[in-house]
């Protein structure tokens, strides 16, 4: 079923919908967006993921036309839109706090863009009804935004944006104001809806779960640049840099030493063959929390000076262990199933680490 196609194969043949070419933007000498390139195909959903201040919102605002790039071009359907004001772009946005018009009913909020486009009353009413049905807002048409719940408001915001049949949709932290359960439900629902309608979408978020839940591809942004772009699996499994690795998931960082014999030691008695060749000397070693296992007996990597278990946290589907190893605090996530089938670990117990050296990422220490 096309709706569940996450491979993006149906999207590949389509011509590019949105092309960002070498976009730069700075505010008062502070670089917000730095040489960003991005190509979206029709129906594709791309997440701009990054910490606050990484430039993702500025990039989104430039696509919407709220900011002008200092340099570079934005093309939609092969047409450069840099000089087109926001109200002529036909790029609809769902705002972080929904930006409802407080003085308009739900139906009038949804119809706002249609009124601006001078559609006839009958056409507006028909399209509003269609949107109300699509987002399951039946019976709420005459309410005012102040009379809606957060989840309902978000549905109205999405309906209002989709009502204008936009060339593309922009989501600006659109789920951050919702409770976690509601957020996950809405993410799933919107993901299915956008795929069914084949709406080209750029979403901005600092929440990797949201990016993973919705996007065909994720662009990780750092300091105004797109550090890496790829499918959710690619960026997670094959992070292009240690900063991308550390941004996604929970990561442990050790400062180790890489010897001439290509062996990395990160703590007394904990050494392994370097998975990649880099300059010898001080190195940083990053390992994901789920890539480390614990053992009661010394392991091939960790022979002496065991770590100590200091905390065990039950997280439902996972168990999180916190160990004290030398000067480090090591976080380990393991499936609850694995924990169940092992003899229970007790606080204070000495344990040894085990991991595949290939899952480590080495970088030269500054």
């Amino acid at each position: 079923m096309a709706v569940f196609d996450r491979s993006g194969s149906g999207v590949d043949e389509a011509p590019p919908e949105l092309v960002l070419d070498n976009i730069c933007k700075s505010f008062d000498g502070h670089v917000a967006v730095d040489r960003c390139d991005l190509v979206l195909k029709r129906g594709e959903i791309v997440a701009l993921l990054g910490a606050s201040g990484c430039g993702k919102s500025t990039l989104l605002n430039m696509i919407a036309g709220f900011e002008d790039p200092d340099y570079g071009t934005i093309s939609l359907h092969g047409r450069v839109i840099n000089a087109i004001p926001p109200y002529r772009r036909n790029v609809a946005m769902v705002f972080q706090h929904y930006a409802m018009f407080p003085h308009l009913t739900v139906a009038d909020n949804i119809g706002y863009g249609l009124t601006a486009r001078r559609l006839s009353r009958a056409e507006i009413a028909a399209r509003v009804d269609e949107m109300i049905a699509l987002l399951q807002l039946e019976g709420l048409g005459k309410r005012y935004p102040a009379q809606l719940s957060g989840g309902q408001r978000q549905r109205v915001a999405v309906a209002r944006a989709l009502a204008v049949r936009p060339d593309m949709l922009l989501l600006d932290e659109a789920f951050s104001a919702l409770d976690r359960n509601l957020r996950e439900d809405m993410q799933l629902e919107l993901s299915l809806l956008l795929r069914r309608l084949k709406v080209t979408t750029v979403l901005v978020t600092h929440d990797q779960r949201e990016a993973f839940a919705l996007a065909d591809r994720i662009a990780i942004m750092e300091l105004g640049r797109i550090a890496q772009i790829g499918t959710p699996e690619d960026v997670y499994r094959k992070p292009g840099s240690s900063s991308v690795l550390r941004f996604l998931g929970t990561t442990n960082r050790f400062t180790g030493n890489l010897s001439d014999s290509n062996e990395v030691s990160i703590a007394p008695g904990l050494a392994f063959a370097a998975p990649a060749r880099i300059r010898t000397g001080a190195v940083l070693v990053d390992i994901r929390a789920e890539d480390i296992a614990v053992s009661r007996e010394p392991t091939a990597l960790h022979r002496t000076a065991p770590a100590q278990l200091v905390l065990r946290t039950f997280l439902g589907s996972q168990e999180r262990l916190v160990l004290k190893l030398d000067t480090y605090q090591v976080v380990i996530d393991r499936p609850a199933q694995v924990a169940l089938h092992q003899e229970k670990l007790v606080i204070g117990q000495p344990v040894y680490l085990e991991f595949d050296p290939a899952s480590c990422r080495l970088s030269a220490a500054e």
């Binding site: 919407a64 709220f66 790029v91 705002f95 930006a99 601006a116 486009r117 005012y144 102040a146 209002r160």
Partner: protein, 286 residues
């Protein structure tokens, strides 16, 4: 015990009540009572129930003229302050930090200065030999001083200045609801500047405009100082007329009737404005 918990919130009204009841509510009630007494040329105020005061005020062309003048002045001042306050309130609502502090200070400044002082200030400016006339004469734009003081124009200028803050502040509060994201949402959905103003900014500012108009209108209806010092007896307003009847003519029943009519008129105006607002902006009372 239950009675006490139920009545406890009312306890907090005691200080305000202690002030308002003897110094406002009771005098107003006495005025209303006086209005149905009879003015006696010999005996001052005679406690004999009659509507003679009302009948005279509502039939005599002089008094009707005074009511009419006052309504015209209130309407003009309300309209002009609304037009002057709107862009200023918009600027205030969109500004932040020190520029906002400065603009607010400019709004509050006239309130800090006594109205009498402000009137003297206007006299210096707009008197026949005042700065405005001097400047216009020197520039050759006029050959004789333009009479503004003790004229309708001078009175209106003084009133606009006096009541402008009362229009700006509620308008600003309303306009602050139009935040950046709402402006962007309108633009994003295809609304140009004029469309956005007409469909978003103006309707959202309506409650503030109504509140400001209520304050200014009611203020002008009962203004005594400005019409007395800057106005003209050719265009008599209510408050000075009432004062004149009560003091010079010692007609307490007549002035009581006039005052009661003003109070009822102001109340009726405020209630009507609120009812209209409820109809045109139902969202504001959610």
């Amino acid at each position: 015990m239950q009675w006490r918990t139920r009545m406890a919130p009312w306890f907090w009204l005691t200080p305000a009540g202690a002030l308002l009841i003897p110094f406002f509510v009771i005098p107003v009630l006495i005025t209303a009572r006086n209005s149905v007494y009879r003015d006696d040329p010999m005996g001052f105020l005679v406690p004999a129930f009659t509507f003679a005061g009302y009948a005279r005020v509502l039939s005599d062309s002089y008094y009707l003229g005074v009511f009419g003048n006052t309504l015209v002045a209130a309407a003009i001042v309300s309209l002009v302050t609304l037009l002057v306050a709107y862009p200023f309130a918009w600027l205030l609502a969109r500004s932040s930090g020190s520029s906002r502090g400065f603009l607010l200070w400019v709004v509050y400044l006239p309130i800090y200065v006594s109205v009498i002082m402000r009137v003297f200030g206007w006299m210096v400016l707009i008197a026949d030999s005042g700065m405005v006339n001097q400047a216009l004469l020197k520039l050759g734009l006029i050959h004789h001083p333009v009479r503004m003081i003790n004229e309708i124009s001078g009175m209106i200028i003084g009133m606009i200045h006096r009541y402008l803050p009362l229009m700006i502040l509620p308008l600003m509060t309303s306009l602050q609801k139009v935040d950046d994201s709402i402006m962007r949402a309108s633009s994003n959905l295809g609304g140009g500047q004029w469309f956005t103003w007409w469909r978003v900014v103006m309707p959202i500012s309506l409650p503030g405009a109504v509140a400001g108009t209520q304050l200014v209108f009611a203020g002008v209806l009962s203004d005594y100082v400005i019409p007395t010092l800057l106005g003209t007896t050719k265009f008599q307003l209510l408050a000075p007329a009432i004062y004149y009847e009560a003091t010079t003519n010692a007609a307490w029943a007549l002035s009581g009737a006039m005052a009661t009519i003003v109070i009822v008129a102001v109340a009726a105006f405020l209630i009507t404005a609120n009812l209209i607002l409820k109809r045109v902006a139902p969202w504001a009372s959610i």
